[in-house]
Amino acid sequence: MKTIKEIQNDIVDEFSMFDDWMQRYEYMIELGKTLPLIEDQYKTDDNIIKGCQSKVWLHAELIDDKVVFTADSDAIITKGIIAILIRVFSDQNPKDILEADTAFIDEIGLKEHLSPTRANGLVSMIKQLKLYALAFQTQISE
C-alpha cells in the first residue's frame, strides 16, 4: 500500500511527462474515467461540495479504519480533478489524510491552470475530504 506522499510523487511524475497543458487536460479527462463513482443513493444535495461552479458529489465511508471516498461530477474536467484527489486520499488512515500537505497540486501546476472559480472549487474539495477524515478520526478515538 502506497503512502499519500508516494502517490503524490507518482502524479507529479506522470504530469511532468507532458509537453503542454492540452495534453495534461486530456490526461485529466482520462483520469476522470477511473473515478470510483458515488452510489446513486448518496448523490444527494447534501453531498454536493459547496463552492464549486459545477456539481461535485462526495461520499466517504470508514472501512477497516481507512477512509474510502467515492464521487462524481457533471463536468468532465472536474471529474478528473476529484479523481486525482481521491487517488491520493482514498484508502488512507484519517490521521494521515489530516496530516497530508497538498503541495503536489502546486508542483503539477494544476491550480494556476484552472480558472479562479475552479481553483476555489479545488480548495473546497480538499477541505471537504479533510473534514470527512476529521469526522472519522474523532469517531475512531471515541
Binding site: M22, I29, K55, A75, I76, T78, L114, S115
Partner: protein, 412 residues
C-alpha cells in the same frame, strides 16, 4: 462549408490596430476575444483620452475657479452632451452619470421605494440579468408591491399577448432589457413601452447589452428610464448612464447624499441641487465620463449601422458553422438577435468547453451569465456564450469553431 465573404463598410485591419489588447497571446495562441457582452475592449483613442485627462487637466469639477477645474468641467459636461445627442434625449440634464447599469437601476429602484404602495404591481421580463432583478426584489420587500414575471417562450422571446393581459391599472412599472445578455434576444421595447403607457405604467429599459450594437432613441422610444454601461461600448469600467425623463427624475428622491448634489445645507435642512447634480453626489468619475464620451464618438465614427450589419454577418456565419456540429444546441431566437451565441453541446458541461477554449486562446463566457432564471427555464447549469464585436473577424470565428470541435472531441 465554404466561407461566405463578409462585407464591411470599414477597414477591419485599421480598426483592429486601434485595440492594443488584440495583439496579446493567451497560452501561446493569439487572443480571440469573444466575451464582448461582458466587457468590450478599449481602443487607443479612449486610452489616450484617459492618459490625457490625468496628464493635462485632472481637477475637481463644478466648484473651482481655477482654469484646470473649468477645463475638466467643460469636458465632463461636454461628455454629457455627447451622450445626450447620441441617444437623442430632450435635454442634457436628463443624462445622469453613474458607475454603471447596476448603479442606474438602483437609483431608480430606490426612488420608487418611496413612491410605490403595497397594492402596486411591477412587471419584470423573464429575460432579465440579476442586476435588473435583485434591486426590485429589495424594493418590493420595502413597499410590499408585487413583482410579476412576464414569461418568455422556448426561443427566448417575450410573450406579448400575456403582457397585454398582465397590464392593469395597478401596474406602476415595467422592467425589461433591450437586449438579453444571456440569449441575445432584441426585445420589442417600443411596443412594450407603448402598451405600458396606455395603462399609465412607467418603463425602465436595461440597455447594457443593446448599446454596443445599436443606438436607442430616447424620444422616439418615449422610454421613462434607460440605463447603460460604459465598459460595454469601448469605454472604461466604473462609468455608466442613467437616462430619465425630466418629470420622473424630478419626482424621485436622491439616492445618495453628499457634496455636489445640494443647493444649500444647514444642520436644520438641506435643499437639493437641480438635475442632473441631484443624482451625482460626491466627486463623480470625471475621467470615466470624458472617456465614455470619446468611446461613443469613436463608435459613431465607424457608424452603428455599419457595426450592426457587420456583426449580423459574423453572427450568421458563426451560427451556421456551429449548427453543423452534432449535438449543438443554440439558445435564443433564430432571428432578431444581437451578436451573441449562447450554446451547449449534448452531454458536455459548459465549463469544460470554456476551459479548453481558454487553453486555445479563445475567451468566451461560461456559466449562468447572471441570469439564473433563464438557465432554470431551460433546466441547464449554464451555457457557453460567444459574443461578438465589430473588431472580430471571420477568421476568428473559424478559429473559435475549430476550437469548439476540438473541445468536443476531447470531452465526449
Amino acid at each position: 462549408m465554404e466561407p461566405v465573404p463578409i462585407h464591411m463598410k470599414f477597414d477591419i485591419e485599421k480598426i483592429r490596430a486601434d485595440f492594443p489588447i488584440l495583439n496579446r497571446k493567451i497560452n501561446g495562441a493569439p487572443l480571440v476575444y469573444l466575451d464582448n457582452a461582458a466587457t468590450s475592449q478599449t481602443p487607443q483613442q479612449v486610452i489616450d483620452t484617459i492618459v490625457e485627462y490625468y496628464s493635462e487637466y485632472n481637477a475637481n469639477i463644478h466648484r473651482g475657479v481655477h482654469s484646470l477645474s473649468q477645463e475638466a468641467t467643460e469636458r465632463y459636461e461636454g461628455a454629457r452632451k455627447i451622450i445626450q445627442n447620441h441617444i437623442n434625449a430632450l435635454s442634457d440634464h436628463e443624462i445622469i452619470f453613474t458607475s454603471g447599469t447596476t448603479h442606474g437601476i438602483n437609483i431608480v429602484a430606490n426612488g420608487f421605494s418611496s413612491i410605490l404602495k403595497a397594492e402596486d404591481e411591477i412587471i419584470i421580463s423573464a429575460l432579465e440579468h440579476h442586476s435588473n432583478i435583485v434591486p426590485w426584489q429589495m424594493m418590493c420587500e420595502q413597499t410590499g408591491s408585487r413583482l410579476r414575471v412576464l414569461p418568455m417562450n422556448d426561443s427566448g422571446v417575450l410573450n406579448l399577448d400575456e403582457y397585454r393581459d398582465m397590464l392593469n391599472p395597478k401596474t406602476r412599472l415595467v422592467l425589461v432589457d433591450h437586449v438579453s445578455n444571456a440569449l441575445g434576444t432584441i426585445n420589442p421595447i417600443k411596443e412594450i413601452i407603448e402598451l405600458a403607457h396606455q395603462t399609465g405604467a412607467a418603463v425602465l429599459v436595461d440597455g447594457a447589452q443593446a448599446c454596443p450594437h445599436l443606438v436607442p432613441d430616447m424620444q422616439d422610444l418615449d422610454v421613462d428610464f434607460y440605463v447603460l454601461s460604459g465598459h460595454k461600448v469601448c469605454g472604461p469600467t466604473g462609468i455608466g448612464v442613467l437616462y430619465g425623463k425630466e418629470k420622473w427624475l424630478n419626482s424621485l428622491p436622491p439616492y445618495q447624499g453628499g457634496g455636489e448634489m445640494i443647493s444649500e445645507v444647514t444642520f436644520e435642512k438641506t435643499t437639493y441641487a437641480d438635475l442632473p447634480h441631484k443624482f451625482e453626489a460626491g466627486t463623480p468619475n470625471v475621467c470615466g465620463a470624458i472617456a465614455l464620451g470619446r468611446a461613443i464618438d469613436y463608435m459613431n465614427d465607424i457608424g452603428f449601422d455599419n457595426i450592426f450589419q457587420y456583426e449580423e454577418q459574423l453572427l450568421s456565419y458563426a451560427s451556421s458553422k456551429l449548427n453543423s456540429i452534432e449535438g449543438m444546441r443554440i439558445y435564443g431566437p433564430p432571428s432578431n438577435k444581437a451578436a451573441v451565441i449562447s450554446f451547449n453541446i449534448d452531454g458536455i458541461h459548459p465549463y469544460d468547453i470554456g476551459t479548453i477554449l481558454d487553453k486555445l486562446g479563445i475567451a468566451v463566457r461560461t456559466g449562468h451569465h447572471c441570469a439564473q432564471p433563464i438557465m432554470d427555464y431551460y433546466n441547464i447549469p449554464g451555457t457557453v456564450r460567444a459574443s461578438f464585436a465589430f473588431y472580430n473577424t471571420q477568421e476568428e470565428v473559424d478559429r473559435f469553431v475549430n476550437a469548439v470541435i476540438r473541445a468536443k472531441s476531447m470531452l465526449s
